[in-house]
Amino acid sequence: MIVSSEKTISNELNKPKVLLELKGIKKYFPIKGGVLKRKQGDVKAVENVSLQLYEGESLGVVGESGCGKSTLGKAILGLEELTEGQIYFQDTEIQHLKRKEKIKFIKQMQMIFQDPYASLNPRQRIGHALEEVFTMHTNMSAGEKRQAVIDLLEEVGLKEEHFDRFPHEFSGGQRQRIGIARAIALNPSFIICDEAVSALDVSVQAQVLKLLKKLQQKYQLSYLFISHDLGVVRYFCDRVLVMYLGNTVELGTVKELFDRPLHPYTQALLSAIPRPSVHTKHKRIRLQGDLPNPANPPSGCPFHTRCPIAADVCKGEKPEWVEYEPNHFAACHFAGQPIA
């Protein structure tokens, strides 16, 4: 008896704590048309996504544009209303909480956007824009707020003198730092980075990635890192989720997924990345065609129209989400089969 209870304790210690859990999330956008604007169908932007995000980890979400990765991020934050499914944050179902209750949790979830310039008021000084966060959520005095903002600016590598500047006076990298400052202002535990470094030049991108990593270590942050750049994801993330047409196709640790991708789509994505090296010329797997229209997704496996190893079963039957190896999931009838 004693032995077994010790065992459970040690298991619990080793197991990372779940911060966020998604259960069967669906988000459909209605398509309306005709004279009466009747609903004619749905764009299935996110189709039945379930996953767990642990404390202090970075989970990358990759896929082509239109695969639903941004919608997933917005749905988690409540910026899009879910069609179906539940979101648990720190073991609490947050969807149906009253507004007052909800705010407590929402404060801990923040987002960093791709283009910080678009999310800043061009006529408002940066310091004042950042102060608004504290005006909304705390009872600080004006002096305290100013000090808090200056601390924030320094935290993200800016200086006190930037307080009174306008957004246009900053470079792209600095603006992204402001976006980060705003996101960490309320000591969140979870941040969604939606293509946060995609618009930056490589040298600045590296600076911002390093800053995000530093903050993660300092504040035990969890990131949901939405990106289309697999190189960045490999560098930055612990686990990766691959999405295709709103469906999750593969989930695994960075190492597993990059070294031994199970799903043919993941294999194709990985082989399509141009490598910054002149010696390792490898054969690319050429995917034919474009992403199908999400309003009219293919039957069966959504990837079968472009999949080089698709068989009849793929057209008819949607593959199950299966844990093939510990912590390595995929949805494919032929998971693990090499395609080229």
Binding site: D201, S203, V204, D229, G231, F236, P274, S277, T280, L291
Partner: protein
């Protein structure tokens, strides 16, 4: 197959007239391009790489001007041609693909109309002949149902398709030189791979010279024969693609290579270049990179480095190399 020199750019300076006075965006840049060769120009946004290409094709904004230097296309100067003459070259001998196909294509004209236009203007084809050739071109760039696409509008096509249409238009008159300004930046990786393959195929088929502007070192390794690295309006290093990747000399080139995360190497440590690109009107003494360079010495802060030769094809403009050369 690489043969005679197609394009020669000699010491061009491109300046912009602004409220703050003349701003030089390209400072004394020289390079050349042979037929059948791909030259990649790399650098961060604002380093002058796009302005260099716009100078070549004569599409500078109205306040921009090439104030000195020469651009020779097949031996003849093109930098001082009158607008009408330049128009006959543009789209005919030199053509360009832009980053955003949606903004480069006219949204209210059909794909067919935009594809026929250069053929009718430059090659004086009749509408039906141009139509036939347009369909042929769409086939060449791998667009399914080309007859149907001719009557569609740009918004009806996907991003990859639009970029293919742009390429078809650019290639319609068999240009000798194709300038591609970040042609795949806006595309997804799987589509990017398709477009890069397509451009490589077409290049060897038509023996074109290609000038590709990009900031993605992965793309460079994939397509380039030669690479030119620019920083703040200046050329800092130039060499064959192998020389640049295996033996980068300039600290900036090294920095660029080290700031791209490596997909195949899990333990790769990113090394960011500190700071950001100086603005155009900033007066910088000495080497323009010295403020961000960890090897900077006194001479870097006071005197501009000359171009030193590493090999016949590999040149770098850095004091470190110059000093080393003297010692060796």
């Amino acid at each position: 197959m690489m043969g005679e020199t197609l394009l020669e750019v000699k010491n061009i300076v491109t300046e912009f007239r602004t409220a703050d006075g003349q701003l030089p965006a390209v400072r004394d840049v020289s390079f050349s391009l042979k037929k059948g060769e791909t030259l990649c120009i790399v650098g961060e946004s604002g380093c002058g790489k796009s302005i260099t290409s716009l100078s070549v094709i004569g599409l500078l904004p109205s306040n921009g001007k090439i104030t000195s230097g020469e651009i020779l296309y097949e031996g003849a100067p093109i930098h001082n041609l009158p607008a009408e003459k330049m128009r006959q070259i543009r789209g005919n001998k030199i053509s360009m693909i832009f980053q955003e196909p949606m903004t480069a294509l006219n949204p209210v004209l059909t794909v067919g109309f935009q594809l026929r236009e250069p053929l009718m203007l430059h090659h004086k084809l009749s509408k039906s002949e141009a139509n036939k050739q347009g369909i042929e071109l769409l086939k060449q760039v791998g667009i399914p149902y080309p007859e149907k696409r001719m009557n569609q509008y740009p918004h009806e096509l996907s991003g990859g398709m639009r970029q293919r249409v742009m390429i078809a238009i650019a290639l319609s008159c068999n240009p000798g030189l194709l300038i591609a300004d970040e042609p795949t930046t806006a595309l997804d990786v799987t589509i990017q791979a398709q477009i890069l393959d397509l451009m490589n195929d077409l290049k060897s088929k038509f023996n074109m010279g290609v000038m590709m502007i990009t900031h993605d070192m992965g793309v460079v390794a994939e397509v380039a024969d030669r690479v030119m690295v620019m920083y703040a309006g200046k050329k800092v290093e130039e060499g064959n693609v192998n020389e640049i990747f295996d033996n980068p000399k300039h600290p900036y080139t090294k920095g660029l290579l080290n700031s791209v995360p490596n997909v195949d190497d899990p333990d790769f440590e990113l090394e960011a270049i500190p700071g950001s690109l100086p603005s155009l009107h900033e007066q910088i003494d000495g080497c323009r990179f010295h403020a961000r360079c960890k090897f900077a010495t006194d001479i870097c802060r006071s005197k501009e480095p000359p171009l030193s030769k590493i090999s016949d094809t590999h040149h770098v403009s850095c004091w470190l190399e110059e000093e080393e050369g003297k010692l060796g």
